[in-house]
Symmetry: C2
Subunit: 234 residues, 2 copies
Amino acid sequence: MGKFYGIGVGPGDSSLITVKATEVLTQMDVIYCPTMFDNKDSLAYEIAKPYIQEDTIVKQHIFRAKDEESNEPFWQATAEEVAKDLDQGLNVGFITLGDPSTYSTYSYILHRLDEAYDVETIAGITSYNQIAATLNQSLALDTEAFCVVPATADEAIINNALEHYDTVVFLKIKNHLNKIFRALDATNRRADGVIISQVSQEKEKIIDDLTEFDISQRLSYFTTMIVSKQKGRY
Amino acid sequence: MGKFYGIGVGPGDSSLITVKATEVLTQMDVIYCPTMFDNKDSLAYEIAKPYIQEDTIVKQHIFRAKDEESNEPFWQATAEEVAKDLDQGLNVGFITLGDPSTYSTYSYILHRLDEAYDVETIAGITSYNQIAATLNQSLALDTEAFCVVPATADEAIINNALEHYDTVVFLKIKNHLNKIFRALDATNRRADGVIISQVSQEKEKIIDDLTEFDISQRLSYFTTMIVSKQKGRY
């Protein structure tokens, strides 16, 4: 029976992957790559490519429904296909952008397999760790706490985070700019914010001053905001 | 003039360092390693050692006062020494456990140098990302938010985190077990918790059931608690 690996490939630059992940990647018989519903090439695959051997089978899979339908059938179908590969004795890697334990589809596949199969998760650099590195700014120091909040969360938790925490990381803000800026203004924290798209990738974009920000502008899907009282201090 | 690098070396296992960090480490003229005040060998150095060249100068430095005195003089003295090395045209790496932007002394050194010198921060795997990987458990999924809270934080923020967030990571709990368990019991979340010491290191220890936990037991300095409603689910 094969072993199932969740492999974090980091935020975008192929060198921001761990030595362990590169070693595991070279040993895989099959690699599953997530793609968007529009079936473009997988960014995770592009990152991992330099470490994947020629005879490894690469399967690109869509893991997300386009609209309001449930994603469950996508996850279930993938888990069943992975199980078949494992039953044949193949070692299967599931690659994931950033870290596999942090908002990753991998968790849903893992959940369907970890009782019957041997699994191992290989951590990766998250987008917001890389953003802090790129900005040479700390996420937190000393006794400070920080929060990571998807922009899809309830407005109550978004406001709680901005009211009580020195640093708040907002993920996937692209389609929720209205909501996030309303909360920033309600808590008077707009000046603490910086927006970063596609960190460590070729198209990396940093918007450092949000005071004149136009919320009608189009941002990449991979856009994060860090709101920090330390902004510009460290 | 040399360049200053903050280099995250990850949680403990030398393979949990990024390819980029290994490349930068091989190119350093001088490497500064943090040690505890008892001047034991630096754990960060042990992790980075396989990637450090023989002719690299390694300087072990104490960055923390033993008792209540200020740490500022330690940081200032180190920053001044780094500046001298940089002025001589040497490339200087400052290695840090985990990630250099997450509760790292590196931030205080960086803060004293980044206006006058060229600096670059190389992200690393945090202890809690590795803990999630080791446990095959997600930190957060979908619309869930999560918090990272040092056990030295105010009790108000510790309680806020436990009341409002599905997942809370408590760092450095060793000397604060009373406070943390009081907050867990007040919010009825003891059953959600798991304690992990020295993750990915030889002496790794996992305490999965906290219901009978004895708070008088001695834990390593590198001990983290993850409290999660997902415990055991993913």
